[in-house]
Symmetry: C2
Subunit: 429 residues, 2 copies
């Protein structure tokens, strides 16, 4: 970059792109001061340059040719906001090969091809920043890399999907069903028309892959993360959980255990006094346990044009400040060894269980025997007055290794007196 | 520093010093990798070198002479953990003059003399880091300087004193009186023998001065901060607040208003659904509103050897990485203009009020008239069955400018039928 200007090429001008342009426009002077250079939106790659846009840029700044950004040596920094794997991946690789710095908000790409991109950056003495790929505007990547650098991270637990948290919050506050809450989330723009990626926990798993890599300094394959969505959470479960002192949240959990990493996304009963239980609506939070700092939590909006734009622009400033220095990165992700990830069957957890049983003598004894034979001990039991000959029973176990719990469940499902097992969720300590 | 080693001189080896030494020892290799140099605790200034210490350092590393650290050109970085204004201030100035980088955890010093130290650092192309001066291990300084750099910060609201939060939490959870909760806090090490600085809100005001300076990019004089402590919070107030849907917290609030900054520390009714309401026990949190990112919150342990040590070591790593680079600081605090701070009488707030009145006809009318004449309108009213001819009345007003509220209070106190005004607190929107 010249002494005075940092020229930015923007790939994609959707919601987040609009946010970035608005922030750059609104705080032009202050941002230039912080960056040590004027930040200039030199060229913007779009599909249709004639489409009207909220951002006030001369028509000649828009292009439909990626090469006019990637091959322009005057462009110092490429900001990728297209999303998806291709062509974003090829464009970023091309930019890095030409020594350009890159800022990306692309979660899928960083989760799947992060190592490749980071290695290419290192090879060409360039850099790639990705704060906006997880948790919208919440500072997460920089705190994990720098602020908590003195710690061995023991655990990260995130509420990192706004759609599911919005749905679970509606269900808890309004008593709505899953379907009602989903419809509400879609009406209010917190869920997409096809929300499967969010509801089934895959979006959270991608984000967990990015965070856990930094927290545990390991390369993580998204496929190694155990994933369970929220479709099985019923209004009744939320009511019982509350009665027992818990909220139900979709948690993304990463833990470093002696034998390897535990990485999983699943609906979880969270104690009402835990700070994650108070993370409501579309908000996100990541709770981190470090051996020195103890528990810290980062909370905020995990999505949206302006919050995500805030993270993108922070990365742009950081890139501008670093570009001409010889400063080394604090954590070199490229040095991380592949993670050894434990199968979920070997993890230890408490379990919440809701089932329907025949309301007759001996049923509870059969249940207790099934658990007893697998040495699963029970911590809490609720049995409400039955209706029409069926009793609803809610149980919470003590800590048990999952494979043992699963064997107990097979025994229970084989019991003649057990009509349905409605829900099985893990419980956070 | 040499290519291989960063030599550190430590001023003071109390609780936090022990934490820093323990972290450096425990993660020697990982920290050196992150810092790009081996971190060597070269010399430690103590009062009594023969005193036994938890840290495993050869006897010759201890000194009683500050000069043997400050005048030693081989020492690259001075870490000040003595606390208090002098001699810490003179030692830091001396280190900066000799071009050494400085890391400090000294809240009083940064709040009172931060500008002087930052200017001296700039003059000598050195740097001073102070993440550990506020909020223990919670990342705050770095997020405000870097992660939220794209934002104009509108508001910072902190629970930044662990002692008072512990006391208020005990009162809320156990129904204890202020005195009982204070005794408990002292017994458990969360309050000092002389807790006045904490209880009266001065400790929080110092921390607010440091945070608000960065958030609003202004120089702030601690004396300009309005301060009210928690001694006036009664168990009854906490009960009534809960009934109305609030928790009582000691908040440190900084806001940028059109006419200037509002800076104040006082007990405050916080809506139960606000994320700050769930910050319990000795935990701290800082809630920040930025124009792009919206609401974010940083939560964790605000004190303690290891959490504070975590922040100090993160600063050491940052210093090591930056020392040989030409990188510019993102926010230069030395460029901040002095703040114009508004008197609290001109701020607008809702108020909570608890008073004892004679239980006879016309009393409520008198109260209503006093408020009405000053155009203060009421939002919530509780009057419980009276005892022995005295009625306890709790009111919450709508927004009102403080001077107007104060005039209404004068009218009320002049009412013959009003026996005592027990409590007056502000209410967070």
């Amino acid at each position: 970059m010249s002494e005075q200007k940092l020229k930015i090429g923007l790939l994609g001008m959707g919601t987040v792109g609009g946010g970035v342009a608005a922030i750059l426009e609104r705080h032009r002077e202050a941002l230039s001061e912080k960056a040590g250079a004027e930040l200039v939106l030199e060229r913007v790659l779009v599909r249709d340059p004639r489409r009207p846009r909220a951002v006030d840029l001369p028509a000649e700044r828009f292009t439909t040719e990626a090469a006019s950004i990637l091959h322009d040596p005057s462009i110092d920094l490429v900001v990728e906001l297209m999303g998806g794997i291709e062509p974003a991946r090829s464009y970023i690789l091309e930019a890095l090969r030409r020594g350009k710095y890159v800022v990306t908000a692309n979660k899928d790409l960083m989760a799947r091809h992060g190592t490749e991109l980071l290695e290419e950056a290192q090879r060409h003495r360039a850099r790639i920043y990705y704060e906006a790929s997880v948790g919208g505007g919440i500072p997460l990547i920089r705190p994990l890399k720098h602020c908590l650098a003195a710690n061995r991270i023991e655990k990260v637990i995130g509420i990192i999907n706004g759609t599911t948290n919005y749905i679970l919050t509606r269900m808890a506050l309004e008593g709505s069903s899953f379907q009602e809450a989903l419809a509400e989330a879609q009406a209010r723009g917190f869920a997409e028309a096809d929300p499967a990626n969010d509801l089934e926990g895959r979006d959270a798993a991608y984000k967990l892959a990015i965070i856990a890599a930094l927290a545990f300094r390991r390369r993580i394959a998204v496929e190694d993360i155990y994933v369970e969505g929220i479709a099985g959470v019923a209004a009744e479960d939320i009511r019982y959980a509350r009665e027992l002192g818990y909220a139900i949240k979709l948690l993304a959990v990463g833990e470093e255990l002696l034998q390897g990493l535990a990485l999983r996304v699943h609906p979880t009963l969270v104690p009402a006094t835990h700070p994650l239980a108070s993370v409501l609506h579309e908000f996100n939070a990541v709770y981190v346990v470090g051996d020195a700092v103890g528990e810290v939590m980062f909370y905020g909006r995990g999505a949206g044009a302006m919050p995500t734009g805030s993270a993108v622009v922070a990365d742009i400033i950081d890139a501008a400040r670093t570009m001409r220095s010889r400063i080394k990165d604090g954590i070199m992700e490229t040095t991380f060894a592949p993670a050894s990830v434990l199968p979920v069957s070997r993890l230890v957890s408490r379990f919440y269980l809701r089932l329907q049983a025949q309301d007759r003598p001996g049923v509870f004894a059969a249940l207790a025997t099934a658990f007893g034979e697998e040495q699963v001990s029970l911590d809490m039991i609720i049995q409400k007055r039955s209706e029409a000959g069926t009793a609803e029973i809610v149980l919470v176990t003590h800590d048990v290794i999952e494979e043992r719990f699963n064997r107990a469940m097979q025994r229970i499902e084989a019991c003649e007196a057990i009509e349905t097992v409605n829900s099985v969720f893990r419980v956070l300590e």
